[in-house]
Symmetry: C2
Subunit: 242 residues, 2 copies
DNA sequence: AGCCCGTTTTGACCTAGATCAAAGATTACC
DNA sequence: GGTAATCTTTGATCTAGGTCAAAACGGGCT
């Protein structure tokens, strides 16, 4: 699953070319980015940056999944977002990082050194426009998640989470499609504001009710998409948010 | 408290001139904004926009407080953000509104018609840069709030909320300073993911412990800032997030 | 000054989800 | 191919915060 990127790989053939911060850039702008970029890889489970670290590079996720999280002094942890390919790490204009970023699977990053990148953000409107767009999308997702965290029941939270995975893998779901949980039960719990036991019990219940079926710990099949949606607590927004 | 704005008030004397979307604009850019703006006022308690409404205008809050919220079909409500003077309403590039916006106190808006404003966003980097900055600040605040909603206890939530009010009123807190709750108990509950009864009980407990003192329902004095902070569950970030 | 109506407080009780504890599964690793 | 190290499931019990209900408080308004 890990892509092998040569140090001077061309942006033109990059898998996230049209979704990342560089999405709107023309060839000239792209070559300016090319000059300050480099690739790096992080193994599953390893930290990418810690909260409080000085921000020395920005990066785009090229492949793999990372989590953004905050851990309180006593160990309580909340995952505040999942970072997928094309998502951006780092915040122009800040000296320090606000949340821990951890590789959930093996991750390939396209990194930019801080100063030159910040200069580009100021000079190239296509970059700041795209970053604004991405920030607003994430803001919306974060707020949607706040509703989940503040008001949904355990069942609704988990149904919403499963639905999110289905929607993201975006394979126009035929009758039988197999999906994969990207996270352990504990990570799911930290994402949903629950405990791992509650996740496990709730998934078992959904199995028993014939809503999902599991093959191994991480692969599942949705047996009843409608019921899943009904369980999510969301109204039938035909994708309102567009 | 409500400001009286004449329809053609100059931006130069605007109280939010240096914090709103227009913060980075020069005089030329400001006059372009001036041409497409108009003021409007909304009474406390009235809706400003509903989720699902077509987005016809963007606006900046000039004075007053509004809330951003989502209500589920069965009435459960989560407030996902408070909008204070200089905060922005609306999202360029979207046709519909994603959350309900409601005036919590009397509100004055500086409104821009959609199309011309979107053109400005594309043409004037000072605007898109500022909007990105604001979006990123809100994103950070939203994520911080996710930690509160997902992992904090009722006590910690309320302490954090009181601290937020203290920090925002930004009067360099001398021994005795009087603050005001901008929300009813029910609104606080919907903001913190609790019920109004829990808010009331927790505030009573804090009173009994000598942490806060109330004068009427909405005015309070913090008797022990340290204890308040300790109760918030946050570590002693000397304002990390900068 | 008194009255009304919405807000807030307080009490009694209940429940969803947490916590504690101990088996079962998987996977990775010699 | 066995076994250690993780994960996951399941059970028993506890509790923070929710729910339901009623009294107390404020704060306009006449």
């Amino acid at each position: 699953m890990t892509f092998a990127f040569n140090e001077r790989e061309k942006c033109g053939s990059c898998p996230i070319r049209h979704r990342a911060v560089c999405a709107r850039c023309d060839d000239d702008e792209l070559s300016r980015l090319e000059q300050i970029k480099s690739y790096s890889t992080i193994e599953a489970g390893q930290p990418i940056i810690w909260r409080g670290d000085a921000l020395v590079t920005f990066s785009s996720i090229v492949s793999g999944i990372a989590s953004l999280s905050r851990t309180m002094e006593d160990g309580r942890t909340q995952v505040v977002g999942l970072l997928l390919p094309s998502d951006f790490i780092g915040r122009p204009g800040r000296a320090f990082v606000d949340f821990d970023v951890t590789a959930v699977s093996n991750v390939t990053l396209c990194q930019f050194r801080r100063k030159p990148f910040e200069r580009l953000v100021d000079e190239v409107p296509h970059i700041s426009q795209r970053m604004m767009e991405m920030a607003l999308d994430e803001l919306n997702a974060a707020r949607e998640w706040m509703v989940l965290l503040g008001r949904k029941t355990a069942r609704e939270k988990i149904a919403t989470f499963l639905e999110m995975i289905v929607r993201r893998s975006a394979v126009p779901h035929h009758q039988i499609s197999r999906y994969t949980l990207p996270l352990t039960r504990e990570e799911i719990a930290n994402f949903l504001g629950l405990t791992l036991e509650t996740i496990s019990r709730q998934l078992s219940a959904m199995k028993k009710e014939g809503l999902v079926e599991f093959e191994g710990r991480r692969n599942f099949v949705i047996k009843d998409f409608q019921a899943l949606h009904r369980a999510s607590g969301d109204d039938l927004e035909g994708d309102m948010g567009n």
